[in-house]
Amino acid sequence: MEENLIDNQSTQYIVVDLGIEQYGIDIKYVDNIIRMQNITRVPNAQPFFRGVINLRGEVVPVMSLRRKFGLEDDEFTDKTRIIILKPAQHEALGIVVDNVKEVVSLESDNIEKIQNGKYEKRHISAVGKNQGSLISLLNVNFIFEDIN
């Protein structure tokens, strides 16, 4: 019983690199992780959209978190990945990350909610502590809300 309780309180996150920071994405929103592929630019689209890709016959828009967060533009390497997010009742969306590091389980004790302050900060819902390093946990729902 006690073990179950602890399990229930921990959440799995995919940890990715973006610039010098580490971000965590709740695994329940992640549909797929794919290697970098040709992205077709869409003229006149919002600047944070890199374009669209073909994901198994469906056209999926791809967004650059770096552009969204005002970081330097993406540099595509062997390690660059596109993470396909697909929350319930939303269309799929890809986000470009520099590198996918690992999957970690964070217990709620190690997650610290942060106050929703400035706009830039609202993409982050909390900060997780894992073996001494800090992981910014992405607020996936806000990313989707923010597009429209």
């Binding site: 592929q37 869409v42 006149n44 669209v52 016959g57 056209v59």
Partner: protein
């Protein structure tokens, strides 16, 4: 009795009959003496009554019964069709429709007795013939008697009156077959009447039922055990007739006996067997009795013997099955994927060492043919004639005519033009809206029309036709047209635009204002239109279907709204072009020509680039600039210009390279990307797996 399993059929068939009635009553209004139409209406009302009765909808049955009675009198010539009668009949139809809607929603017919309408109908019956109403009552009594007498009569025997004997003799001289058919219905059958009805229906397709025992009325009311007998005149042979009846389910036994001579001394043919001889005698006897007994029921009998001639002209109904639209969508998606896979093969074969295996290429071409055909057939399954939406318009325009107190007539052409079913379903409201607009705003009042020397009857048109890969539907009127100045003033007054803007705007731009939300020019808000939820909704709907709408108008002469819709939504033929390093698709049906243009041929008009192409001045659009693509430095002397057209407008698109024609599957870009000006109508997946965007020629122009 549980009839719920028949509910769906009942609803569908009732709708059909209502539509049929509506069409025919419209005809009747024009030609009050048309006997075929009157018969048709009578039959439809009769079927409605029977169906409603079987399903236990008493109020609906009563109402349709009254309609049937009125038509029975019309057919007998005792009542004349008048304009007020037609009005009441339409009210009846609306009432029946209301019952049906109620049934669709709740499976109950509701509480409305529609007494006023029934009273009006009774008025026609009494007004024209004081006796009729009473006769109705009398009629019921002999019927009862007849029923009991037929119950006691020897099974399989049948009484004929003079009229029926004449019919038989006439049929025989025409070398038609006459059968006496005894039908035995399965004892476990729940809906005996319905089965019997189906038998009659099957028979009426082959010929004419001249007599039935018990009477048609009693059979419909389920006043029979499990057997009934009919006398039937047909050109078909015995086996066909027997089969037709046996095909009706829950029919246990059919006994078909040919009647080869008239059951009366006038018979010219020799009796062929002893059995027939015997029958002849039996009949001759019963005829005597029937002659006396049947006179009051004559009106009733006449009904059963409606001329068979009109039946033979009936179109052969297509054999159809109902398919869930979702299943079709799945099929369609599979075809799409097949085409993508095929495109993959095509591009693979292009990159491999060519020429080596011509066999491979042949197979790909074969696959291409198959996928194209497959796609076409799946698309065709989804096609429906636009008639399914337009058929309710004549009545609507008629109602509007009464309501607005203007005379108008609707002329429709090309109702058999076919469109994708999903489009058809969405098209009803916009079209209805445009028609209302024409009736209310477009057409002038009768006095004004006379003053202007126009036909006092306003004309509204609805034309549909196919134009390449598009279907065009035009809704127009010969009314006042759009008063551009009045729109201009109104727009300023409403604050939609400023006075300065108004002064510089062209006529076309002003007219486009009409498509903005909450813009109605009707000075008075009427019941029909003018509430400001109007053309903008129409426009949004049409655009969501991938179509476009435009207006042509001449002040004083009328206006035409033309809607252009893509024939198919999912797969199109496209021209692939390259601009910089990017590939784009342009729908083939918006392309008029591809031209090689010398740079020196480009002229400037109002500092915009144009070319003069065989007398047409066509504006040039540099796709590099619009699409924000870096220009390749190599500066040729020649430009490749793709000439696109929208309606009668043209434009030339400058591209770097032509790749070729390809069948592409349209995919949506999704709702996240907002490219502002809708230049991109969608995306497609190329053979190599990359995504190419589809340029929307309509917004470019």
């Amino acid at each position: 009795m549980d009839v719920s399993q028949y509910l769906e059929i009942f609803i569908d068939e009732t709708r059909e009959h209502i539509q049929n009635l509506s069409d025919n009553i419209m005809v009747l209004e024009q030609e009050p003496e048309n006997a075929d139409t009157i018969n048709e209406i009578f039959r439809a009302a009769h079927s409605l009554k029977g169906m409603a009765g079987t399903m236990g909808y008493k109020r609906m049955q009563h109402l349709t019964h009254m309609m049937e009675n009125v038509f029975s009198e019309v057919r007998n010539g005792t009542v004349k069709v008048t304009s007020s009668m037609v009005d009441v009949l339409f009210q009846c139809l609306d009432a029946v429709e209301a019952y049906l809607d109620e049934i669709v929603n709740t499976t109950e017919e509701g509480e409305n007795d529609n007494e006023p309408i029934i009273k009006l109908l009774n008025g026609f019956l009494e007004g024209a013939n004081g006796e009729t109403a009473k006769e109705e009552k009398k009629e019921a009594a002999p019927k009862e008697e007849q029923k009991t007498s037929s119950d006691t009569a020897v099974k399989g025997d049948i009484k004929l009156d003079e009229f029926e004997i004449n019919a038989i003799s006439e049929a025989l001289t025409k070398k038609m077959n006459v059968f006496k058919i005894s039908v035995h219905v399965d004892e476990n059958c729940i809906l005996k009447a319905a089965r019997a009805f189906l038998v009659f229906k099957a028979l009426e397709e082959l010929g004419e039922v001249i007599k039935s025992d018990p009477s048609v009325q009693d059979i419909e009311d389920e006043k029979f055990d499990f057997d009934f007998t009919v006398v039937f005149v047909t050109e078909s042979d015995k086996d066909t007739v027997t089969k037709a009846v046996e095909n009706v389910s829950e029919i246990k036994g059919v006994d078909t006996v040919a009647i080869t001579e008239v059951p009366k001394p006038v018979a010219t043919e020799e009796p062929k067997s002893a059995e027939h001889e015997e029958k002849k005698e039996e009949k001759a006897e019963t005829v005597e009795v029937a002659k006396v007994e049947n006179t009051p029921v004559k009106a009733q009998e006449k009904k059963a013997s409606t001329p068979a001639k009109s039946n033979s002209g009936k179109p052969v109904v297509n054999r159809t099955i109902r398919v869930d639209i979702e299943k079709l969508d799945v099929l369609m998606n599979l075809v799409s994927e097949l085409i993508i896979a095929k495109n993959g093969l095509v591009s693979a074969s292009n990159t491999d060492a060519q020429e080596k295996n011509s066999g491979f290429n042949e197979q790909i071409e074969y696959l291409e043919r198959v996928t194209t055909n497959l796609h076409e057939s799946v698309m065709k399954v989804r096609m429906m004639p636009i008639e399914t939406v337009t058929q309710k318009f004549p009545k609507m325009v008629r109602d509007l005519s009464k309501k607005l107190n203007k005379q108008m007539k609707l002329t429709m052409t090309g109702e058999d033009t076919e469109l994708d079913r999903t489009v058809i379903d969405e098209l009803g409201d916009p079209l209805m809206h445009l028609l209302r607009n024409s009736a209310d705003h477009g057409l002038e009042s009768e006095e004004v029309r006379k003053e202007r020397g126009k036909d006092p009857v306003g004309s509204i048109i609805l034309n549909a036709f196919q134009d390449g890969n598009n279907v065009v539907i035009e809704v127009g009127d010969d009314g006042n047209g759009i008063d551009v100045e009045s729109v201009r003033n109104k727009a300023v007054e409403k604050g939609t635009i400023t006075q300065e803007q108004a002064d510089t705007m062209t006529e076309k731009e002003i007219i486009d204002l009409l498509f903005r939300p909450s813009f109605s020019t009707a000075k008075v808000v009427s019941d029909v239109s003018g509430r400001g939820v109007g053309l903008d909704v129409v426009k949004t709907k049409i655009e969501s279907l991938g179509g476009a709408i435009e207006v042509k108008t001449t002040l004083g002469e009328g206006s035409i709204f033309s809607i252009r819709l893509p024939l198919t939504l999912a797969i199109i033929q496209a021209l692939m072009v390259e601009i910089g390093d990017e590939k784009y698709a342009i729908s083939l049906d918006s392309i008029q020509a591809i031209e090689d243009v010398l740079k020196t041929d480009i002229k400037y008009v109002q500092s915009k680039e144009v070319i003069n192409l065989r007398g047409n001045v066509i504006p040039i659009i540099r796709l590099h600039e619009i699409l924000d693509i870096e220009k390749n430095e190599e500066d040729d002397d020649n430009l490749i210009v793709v000439i696109i057209k929208k309606g009668d407008k043209q434009a030339g698109l400058v591209v770097d390279r032509l790749i070729g024609q390809q069948e592409i599957v349209i995919k949506s870009l999704g709702s996240y990307i907002d490219s502002g000006n809708k230049l991109i109508s969608g995306a497609t997946i190329l053979g190599n797996g990359d995504v190419a965007l589809i340029l929307d020629a309509n917004t470019l122009i």
